[in-house]
Symmetry: C2
Subunit: 220 residues, 2 copies
DNA sequence: AGTTGTGAAGGTATTCACAGCG
DNA sequence: CGCTGTGAATACCTTCACAACT
């Protein structure tokens, strides 16, 4: 057994939504049909995904306040369980940004990482000027110091924002320094050694998917 | 018949790669196994995807130079065919950026759109200061002028870069102005009216997918 | 030899339908 | 009866294997 990639993506997103819901003060039990409304995914898909986490979930671990039927999920417990199974526990993963152009430098004070299991620890750029001018909430280094900095901070993930021509070279360097996962913002197709993974994030791909979907409504 | 979403994404990316290859001067015929090397996808997947475009492709439409075996695909013709079928013809789609924070404003001089079927025509932000300070290669407007600007430029796609709290509200506004597709950079889950589509692009989702994949190597 | 194109098989994810529990 | 959890059925995508062509 294991969890399929699409299911894992849904669950990760679900965990974030559950935590947002709690922070907003709505901390009652939540039913799968309510989650359907929040997410737009059919309720049976959500139930199935949750069931795949492994029998673990108490489901109704804690007693409800007194009167209400204790049906549905306890949001905090569910979110915690998802995080545990997907190994997304808090602050577990150190990340770096590679390439501090317009896109890369937009991560320098990126608030959205707060409260996620990911923390930005370092930024790299081959242009020394840039790393002197820019400043963020974490230190910036010239590229040649990767070999030293990445192990020191135990960095496992990288956001790759360099120009397309350098993408594969930068990726190779990162992998050789111990990075195991790359989020590739480049339009280049990267090859990765076994035991590592690349996830592509591309505006152009997204636009392409949109255009294709709308052209012939045949792609769910 | 129709083309599946994953196949469409591969094809769109393939078209870009083919055009890059041509620009780099390598304009000979290209075989499916060469494409396998370029993309990392198995050659039979590529052949299948191409076959799904519809019997159209000449495959070996033009004669080879004289001597060489005319096997493989003619890159220009193939790329053009993909673009036609996926309705990704040149400059066919007008886009706008909504929300000019760090991320949104990184699109203001975004070179990567050159040579794609997508063109940025306008930017919007509710903060009037920002649209006066920033400047890009296309005009910027305050949000309240959407109703007028979007139809005028015939804008069909939007890159949504506003804070999560405003995401659904902005999306509703965009759809009501005639936008049919949104690339959602927000962590919010958007609901969209029929006939429209949303594609999510999220660093956090990508990192989550990476972490999950590496945690138990069970997700291809 | 080499190649593409495609029906058929195989594997995966989604959807259904219902058992089981509060 | 509400709801969750899950085996079974369906639909989908990928992979294989081979026919057809150069």
């Amino acid at each position: 057994m294991g969890i399929s990639k699409p299911a894992a993506e849904r669950l990760a997103r679900l965990a974030r939504l559950l935590e947002q819901r709690i922070e907003a003060g709505m901390d009652g039990f939540v039913s799968s049909s309510e989650l359907e409304q929040m997410t737009g995914w059919p309720s049976h898909t959500i139930r199935k995904d949750i069931s795949r986490l492994g029998a673990g979930i108490p489901g109704n671990a804690e007693e409800a306040d007194a009167f209400s039927t204790p049906s549905g999920y306890e949001p905090g417990g569910l979110a915690a369980c998802i995080r545990r199974v997907l190994s997304l526990e808090n602050a577990a993963h150190n990340c770096c940004v590679v390439g501090l152009g317009r896109l890369g430098s937009s991560f320098l004070n990126y608030e959205a990482f707060a409260g996620t299991p990911f923390t930005l620890r370092a930024g790299f750029d081959s242009n020394v000027n840039r790393i002197e001018i820019l400043q963020g909430e974490f230190p910036l280094y010239p590229t040649f110091r990767m070999k030293e900095v990445i192990p020191r901070f135990d960095i496992k993930f990288a956001l790759l924002c360099v120009p397309g021509e350098c993408a594969q070279a930068s990726a190779d360097k990162l992998f050789s320094c111990g990075v195991t996962g790359i989020v590739n913002f480049t339009s280049a197709v990267l090859s990765a050694p076994p035991g590592t993974a690349v996830e592509n994030v591309s505006v152009l791909d997204a636009l392409g998917a949109l255009a294709a979907r709308l052209a012939f409504n045949r792609l769910k």
